[in-house]
Symmetry: C2
């Protein structure tokens, strides 16, 4: 009982409504029995920075729900080329594949906490519940829409536009998680940003400098501040004016 409480406090239980919004949204409609069953299967893990959550090719045995921290999600090519498909924050699900093996790698980029459930059982519970299934549908459909945005960025944006779009959408998702005033923390490395945007680290670095000189952003250690909202927005939407 006391052990359960300790676990709860740091994971999906007690504080679920605060951190683990995804869990709550999905599990809210399950029966008492179902929730108890889930709770029994739930496991909590902590990941240090750079620690793998799961790797491309691994058997997809568990589904994860981030409750704290940030993870990078990426695909690798045989020769080492990398595409970061996204960054996961508290409240995001990881490993929701239909395949038996992961097509993506997930890796913590700062100290991260996640609950996990056996994928098969998780799937079975969701699949048996209309409300949960609708919610899941919403989540995946939403992700697909942002994937389309990403395609536009990757295929048709310039480096400057990519960086502006990245900074704005990242700030948006963080939603005031930033410590000081209006500084958006950037826990990911230049390489992560480069691999997210289809650029090289050098281009990312140079473009940061260029945007800073133009007064659009201000780069500080571990973060950035949007100095010129209008211009940043213009770049991010590839509006030709200006």
């Amino acid at each position: 009982m006391s052990l359960a409480e300790i676990v709860d406090i740091r994971g999906c239980g007690e504080r679920r409504s605060l951190r683990c919004g995804a869990c709550k949204g999905l599990f809210g409609s399950l029966s008492e029995d179902e929730r108890a069953a889930l709770e029994r299967m739930r496991r909590q893990s902590s990941f240090a920075s750079k620690e793998l959550v799961f790797a491309q090719g691994d058997a997809a045995s568990r589904v994860f729900s981030l409750s704290e921290g940030v993870a990078r999600i990426y695909k690798l090519l045989p020769d080492g080329r990398r595409q970061v498909t996204g960054f996961a924050l508290a409240g995001d699900f990881l490993g929701l594949t239909l395949m038996e093996h992961h097509a993506l790698t997930a890796e913590a980029i700062e100290p991260t906490v996640a609950c996990s459930f056996p994928r098969a059982a998780f799937r079975r519970l969701i699949d048996g519940n209309l409300v949960a299934l609708r919610r899941m549908n919403q989540l995946v459909t939403q992700e697909l829409a942002t994937a389309h945005e990403r395609m536009m960025m990757l295929g048709r944006y310039t480096a400057e536009e990519k960086m502006a779009a990245f900074l704005l959408t990242w700030r948006e998702r963080q939603g005031g998680r930033g410590e000081a005033a209006d500084i958006t923390p950037l826990p990911m490395s230049r390489r992560d940003i480069a691999d997210y945007l289809g650029l090289t680290i050098e281009t990312v670095s140079r473009t940061f400098t260029k945007l800073e000189r133009a007064g659009v952003v201000e780069i500080v250690a571990g973060g950035a501040r949007i100095a010129d909202e209008a211009r940043a927005h213009q770049l991010a939407t590839a509006s030709t004016t200006g």
Copy 2:
């Protein structure tokens, strides 16, 4: 009655099991009443080549199910830059958004036939049926996985790799729809391919020529043939060997 039959033959009814696999998969589990209700709302449309099905920004009033033809799905930037997010074939759904307005444009690229249903009613029926909802979930999740592949292509593949990957995956999806022997029809224009791969028409054209000179493919009017399967596959997966 006879009119209904005529409509059926060309649409989602009588021949549904042949062409409109998506409809069948989704609607198979609905009740008699529900299917009858759907049938009453069903409308069938034909689209000439280059005709719009719906446009980015339009109210998303109806959901479409292609039963014949091919459509390009794309996003536009204010200055005309375009990203083709995909090509839709018979059996594919179009306009499955959660938003009130389309974020994508859909346009026929050859004579195309589609059934459509009011989006709200369609959604309501799917959302009330576990089996249909699961199937829908599968479809969207599958699409999300291919979107991740596309990100890798757009961000990290060379022009040559992009073209090889495109040809192979397109041939795969067509699945022997080709007329002659092993020739894969390419109903889309060079511009469509370019905007799909994040290239220009000139680069697409030059890369086709390059691949042809290298003996990898053979370009014929309106189509292509993979001449060197192994090499094409190698390029498409960005395997370094060779």
